[in-house]
Symmetry: C2
Subunit: 324 residues, 2 copies
DNA sequence: TTATATATGTCAACCGCTTGACATGTCAAT
DNA sequence: ATTGACATGTCAAGCGGTTGACATATATAA
């Protein structure tokens, strides 16, 4: 590959000069600048970013550790992050932890070794200490860890909104399908908001926990079928994600339960499939785009040594479609 | 950050020795090895991979350029690729071209500058030459470009399978919703296989092209509604992707057309949502996992300077569910 | 005329690690 | 006593760029 030296020689200048046009610093006449640019073109010169990263001590790479990019919520988020971050010149490294501690640890070390400029944590199986040892800008999604800035949507509000909708529709016997409540995740506030709001209206919801392995869809249907069969007469289900909601739709259809007539259903996330589902899912929309931008902005600020807000909670909105 | 020098000093050896235990080369006594390892632990030493990449001339990074990671087909593929590639020690850089030439070009240059060890191209808006200029291992999906190895599923066979299923179900008036046939994509062979097979049975399918911007879902419903209304009495639709199929389901439901009774529907890809849809979609399954592995294997071989097969077509399978 | 901004060059250290060349020393086997 | 495998060290160049220090030359403004 052609190096800066090759360019310098061919252009009849020194590497310092070439470096100057490359980085726009120091004095350079338009003449020289053009000459150098031309040679770069001719030689198809691409500066070696690895070498640059080494000296600059900035890799311009962001790492994102998530359970799996195959999950639409994460893939939509990764998409938004990459789109926005690329505007800053950042690249995005994807790491699928598969919710395994060992993988998560490996990735953290890897990102550290690769001197990424920031880490976005969307998978949280490790102890607090491991994250802190990262020693570089980091933000988490939906989990509060020590002094690490976190981003989340207003889960409590999400629960409230869902509850209020059920109430306004006159539901009497409702259930919430939650994630693993024993995990220290902010998303569990949804359940809290949901329950508390319903209680104010003298309704005691059934709480149904989906295992901790909640990114594994294969067990969903069995569990959800179980829920529906054990609790006849349910007239409202608040699912912890749109994917779970889709499974509920299928389970209901299989039993001849009509949605929304007999059973009302609310999802969570508003991934693009929520609208595509049949019937289209009423859901609590997380502001994925805004959360993604915020993540990048925070990391960028942290990288510049700026202080940032630790708690970043964005509002959710109810998107009513055809399941309520 | 602690460097190899710090480790060497603290362990009372030279950097050469530390480098030796790091890379497992040369003679090293178990004693020294342990001593060095211990110091690494204590100092929380993480070798700077950027520096290593610079000398080794291998970044251990793979780049993947796709229209958008938000599309389930690509996110599932990225997931499979990342999972498999991480076993080789490769990291995955995601690039969303959004089907824009300028972005695609930028990413190609970026990957070149970052000296990635391989590129997976799933977005093809540029001229052949641009890809060749990349000068490093590259594989493409679903497009044949000069001497670049490509991977694709057997699209023609996919079209055949769909056609045969319609025939066996006794469909008489069928349509295919294809992508942009003017693009030089192997996926267009689906249409060919479909049409040719049907013609052998004296059926002339209606071919309906979805614009080239086929990763933009927003226009789907209007177009598909149009198709259904303009061609009353359709009893079979072969959609170019499961997502399109989901839109067909909705459009049909909105018009009271029952699937599969009145209209049979076959999707393509078998993304995980195909099964989750209501009704579950009968589809042509692309072997995403196998294709992904193959991509990594090919790149890895190319990186080692080995020769690889240029044409890599993997068989598809029909997965019959509830829409046929 | 003098001061100052502009334009370029030379030189060399540095980023953190790898690696080849070569020297030296230990220890066990012959 | 000799040989050779093993263990470690020293030295230094190289990967491709960046950057500060300093020198010099020209052009322009005061």
């Amino acid at each position: 590959m052609t190096t800066i030296k090759d360019v310098a020689e061919k252009a009849g200048v020194t590497v310092t000069t070439v470096s100057r046009v490359l980085n726009n610093r120091g004095y350079i006449s338009e003449r020289t600048r053009e000459k150098v640019r031309l040679v770069m073109e001719e030689l198809q010169y691409q500066p070696n970013e690895i070498a640059r990263s080494l000296t600059r001590k900035r890799s311009m790479v962001l790492g994102m550790i998530i359970p799996t990019i195959a999950h639409p919520f994460f893939s939509e988020m990764a998409n938004a992050i990459e789109n926005y971050a690329s505007g800053f010149g950042y690249k995005l490294l994807i790491c699928n932890s598969r919710m395994e501690q060992s993988k998560e640890k490996e990735y953290i070390d890897m990102l550290k070794s690769n001197r990424v400029d920031g880490v976005i944590m969307g998978s949280h199986t490790l102890d607090v200490q491991e994250y802190i040892n990262l020693q570089r800008p980091i933000v988490t999604f939906d989990r509060r860890i020590a002094d690490i800035p976190y981003i989340s949507s207003d889960n409590y509000q999400g629960g409230q909104l869902a509850a209020q909708l059920f109430i306004s529709k006159g539901c009497k016997k409702v259930a919430i399908i939650s994630g693993d409540l024993s995990l220290d995740l902010l998303s569990n506030l949804r359940t809290q908001g949901f329950i508390e709001t319903l209680k104010q209206h003298q309704i005691e919801p059934i709480v149904f926990q989906l295992g901790s392995d909640s990114f594994d869809r294969s067990t969903y249907d069995v569990l959800i079928t179980e829920l529906i069969e054990q609790h006849q007469g349910l007239d409202g289900i608040f699912a912890s994600s749109d994917i779970v909601a889709m499974t509920v739709i299928k389970a209901a259809a299989a039993r001849g339960i009509s949605i929304p007539q007999q059973l009302k259903l609310i999802g969570y996330d508003d991934i693009s499939f929520a609208e595509l589902a049949n019937p289209a899912i009423t859901t609590i929309r997380q502001p994925i785009e805004a959360m993604s931008k915020l993540a990048v902005d925070l990391l960028d600020k942290l990288a510049q040594g700026e202080q940032v807000e630790l708690e970043n909670t964005l509002p959710v909105t109810l998107v009513e479609r055809d399941t309520t």
